[in-house]
């Protein structure tokens, strides 16, 4: 059995003696016997590390879709980007991994400065002046943004484009049960949000995705105007890789930018831990959820970093806090700073551009296949939706047999269907990253041709 406890039996005895106790069980003597567990946990005895490694190797082998066995065209908010060895090496340094929240800044400048740099990067990418130190993921960042809008407007109606990822909308609906927010989903037609179909004059928030989950790039001017007219917050859920080349949330006039930061150095990781991005205007800074790192001086006048505006947070403000978040995703934020440092200005631009080039090359090839058509005729960057002549899940299964993960079936994201997307069973979401070669793209098109023939 594994044993990470240092104490020798003799030491345990000595320590118990010091406490005047006979046995370890006596430490729990004040706990009513009725609630104490007798007979131990119903869990098998411990195994050695190599034994457990063998069990986990078994789990791994049963994942046919692992990227080292299958070429990944799945996206829908999680992308198979290059994470270079250097980013893994730096991001896994134990000082970053085994520290906790930097409560003692004098010995936590490493994490604090890295977060400060992360905040700067997210601020620049979002085009907004302030970013927090991370949230759990994109979906929960949306919830925090809605809460911010609720707080800022003291209103409760949230108009959310149906182009926002179905899971994110689902999460927003779940938490609205507590906050009392009303989530009004605004439908898409041809991939564009039909803002005209609703009256948004009482909006606490107008939320739009850029690009949306079908890959489509909408012109955000109308949405921005509606938010202005309602004095609600304009919330843009953006792809942070796209932010390397496309107009930023700030350029479109957003009050809040939220996003999923996984593409910046975090593995696909079966969906987590990911990284919730959050940036906003200075107007909202007192409502910003989670931690913020600020620059200051130490008692010798040296530049230092420290968590700041703490009065917003749950440990101080308790039931009046802007958010309940405590543990966040710092390690992913640090990793994102490292990955963005690796990419640099030109690298992020190249990644975004290559994604787009690959996606457009594939789009042209697959839409030429008989029976396959694009769900939307609008512009897209690196992801697009296809309507197939068969169930998308069946096509995925067929292509997987040849080593290609063809994408994500839209119906898997919204099992109850999506009012905005007719014939959802046949819709396939396809994403292309900078890793995909022309050979792989050609193979994809060929396999799809066979799968729908």
């Amino acid at each position: 059995m594994a044993d990470y406890l240092p104490h020798t039996d003799e030491e345990v005895r000595d320590m118990l003696d010091f406490l005047g106790l006979d046995s370890l069980e006596h430490l729990f003597a004040h706990i009513p016997a009725a609630v104490r567990l007798s007979g131990g946990l119903d869990i098998e005895p411990g195994l050695s590390e190599p034994d457990v490694a063998a069990i986990f190797a078994g789990y791994g082998e049963a994942n046919a879709a692992r990227t080292n066995a299958m070429t990944c065209f799945a996206g829908a908010g999680a992308y198979d980007h290059e994470v270079p060895a250097v980013v893994k090496a730096l991001g896994s340094r134990s000082e970053f991994v085994t520290a906790y929240t930097p409560y003692q800044p004098e010995v936590a400048q490493g994490v604090l400065q890295a977060i400060f740099e992360y905040q700067t990067l997210i601020s620049r990418l979002s085009g907004l002046p302030i970013a927090n130190a991370s949230l759990y993921d994109g979906a929960t960042a949306l919830v925090e943004a809605l809460n911010m809008a609720g707080g800022a407007t003291t209103r409760s109606r949230m108009y959310v484009s149906s182009g926002v990822h179905p899971h994110w909308r689902a999460v927003a609906r779940t938490f609205a049960a507590g906050t009392g927010h009303e989530i009004i989903e605004v439908p898409l037609v041809d991939g564009l949000t039909q803002w005209a179909s609703v009256d948004t004059s009482d909006a606490a928030a107008i939320v739009v995705a850029y690009p949306n989950y079908l890959g489509v790039l909408e012109d955000l001017s109308d949405a921005r105007a509606l938010a202005g007219a309602a004095s609600g917050l304009f919330i843009v859920a953006g792809d942070p890789v796209a932010a390397g080349v496309l107009k930023s949330a700030g350029d479109w006039g957003a009050d809040v930018f939220i996003g999923e930061g996984q593409p910046f150095g975090t593995a696909l990781a079966f969906g987590g831990p990911y990284l919730g991005l959050f940036a906003c205007t200075m107007d909202q800074v007192r409502r910003l959820p989670g931690r913020i790192v600020g620059e200051t001086l130490d008692s010798n006048g040296r530049r230092s970093f420290v968590t700041t505006l703490r009065a917003r947070e749950q440990d101080i403000r308790r039931e009046k806090a802007t958010s309940n978040v405590c543990t966040n995703q710092t390690l992913m934020a640090v990793t994102a700073a490292i990955q963005l440092g690796w990419l640099g200005t030109s690298g992020l631009r190249d990644v975004a551009t290559r994604c787009a080039e690959g996606a457009h090359y594939l789009f042209d090839a697959v839409t030429a296949v008989e029976g396959v058509e694009a769900v939307s005729s609008q512009a897209f960057l690196r992801e697009f939706a296809l309507r197939l002549p068969r169930r998308a899940s069946d096509v995925i299964a067929d292509m997987a047999a040849s080593g290609i993960l063809a994408g994500v079936a839209a119906s898997a994201l919204a099992p109850a269907g999506d009012p905005s997307l007719e014939g959802i069973e046949n819709v396939l979401l396809v994403a292309v990253t900078e890793k995909r070669t022309r050979v792989e793209l050609d193979a994809y098109a060929e396999l799809l041709r066979k799968a729908v023939a």
């Binding site: 457990v52 004098e106 929960t140 040296r302 457009h360």
Partner: protein, 504 residues
Amino acid sequence: MAITGLPGGRAASVPLMGHETEPTMFELSVVGRSAAQLRTTGVPTRPLADMVGAAHVKREPVALADLSERDLVGHFTRLSHRQFSVDLGAYPLGSCTMKYNPKFCDAVAADPALNGVHPGAPSTLTQGWLELLVDLEEKLCAITGMAAATLQPAAGAAGELTGLLLMRAYHASRGEDRRRVIIPDSAHGTNPASVTLGGYEVTTVPSNERGLVDLEALRGALGPDVAGIMLTNPNTVGLFEEEITEIATAVHDAGGLLYYDGANLNAIVGVVRPGDMGFDIVHMNLHKTFATPHGGGGPGAGPVAVSVRLADFLPGPKATRLSDGTYDWVAPAKSIGRVHGWHGNAMVLARALAYIDVHGGDGLTRVAQHAVLNANWLRRRLADTLPAAYDRPCMHEAVLSATALKAATGVRGLDVAKALLDEGFHSPTVYFPLIVDEALMFEPTETESPQTLEALAQAVERIVARADTEADELHHAPHHTPVSRVDEARAARHLIATEDAATR
């Protein structure tokens, strides 16, 4: 000769060599550098505007930081040397369970067969992951004495809110509209914050002079509008709520549910199960009890386990073992919906399962025993130096108080905490729980040796001994760290949260 910008290869900020400040990555940036190397794809290039339309193209590219790989490595390696961590030394930060995290669990999580799996791949192609999640759920239920669990919540606070929404859904399903949730005054800040976000009002009940929930006050606070109570047991002052059965009965009799904040599970894992104490809903902080590393502030994972009557409400879809032995995603019948964009912090979950498997049932019990042994030993060892807030056996953490020290010398708990850094130890948690004056909350965890505890005790003794004569030096501690005491007030007064807000 125009060499501008700061050197990326100078190590004067590494405490090994000096105590200068480390430039930011933006200060180290030189336009035109890049470390990025992208795969050769053979895909034809195409102008961006042709692909997306000119209206979407950013006019001016965002300037990030442009670094050579060497400077990137230098910068972040140096930053790492400016950061304390469990791997460097004891981190007795109360309420945070900063135990040693086995490297084995990290290695498990680094396997591309697990972390290279797309979360949107169909269940037929991700059977290994689904099995892993089901196995973990079963083990967490065995540990908590519960019937079913969701693995989606990304941290403890997310688990709390999920639990409150479950409470809400449960009452709603019975046609009841309950508005209040009771929490003790010693509760962690996430509890009241979660209550508010769960749409409830907080009713605070006071602790009695023994540091426990005042049962009479609790009874007084109960009523038909009470949805439930949130407790952590041991509570945040490190004491076991001995009247837990009475509390449970009272709350249940009033139609309320009991929520267990599992942040303190390390004290009782394998010894007492929340379910056996009468709790209906339990969240666990896997990053505490189950030794998934804290990552400088996260990620964590906060699964929520519930009793049978709440199982149908759990978030979903959930990984489920089907009768044919295969696995699929299944939504509970009356699911409150998703609480995470995908399936939760999967790699954290995998680490926790590896930790559970290595320890086994027997090993987990020993974890709690040794954690409680260490805390009590330290409490007793320091009894004459810094007395415990409550003079009785504690569980896995010891809440001491510097009230007397402050009265006698002016040296505050914060000063003691900062001076400990100079002694080679991370500080304990200070000024929490709020109900204890000048609180210093030590949680040694089970992975520290008696020798380390003794050294920690001696360090505290040295500091306290200096308080009479060297109070001023202690007010300005720490002295050996790369930066000296940091001006927190200035940071808040004059907010600089990005490089661009700085006037450099």
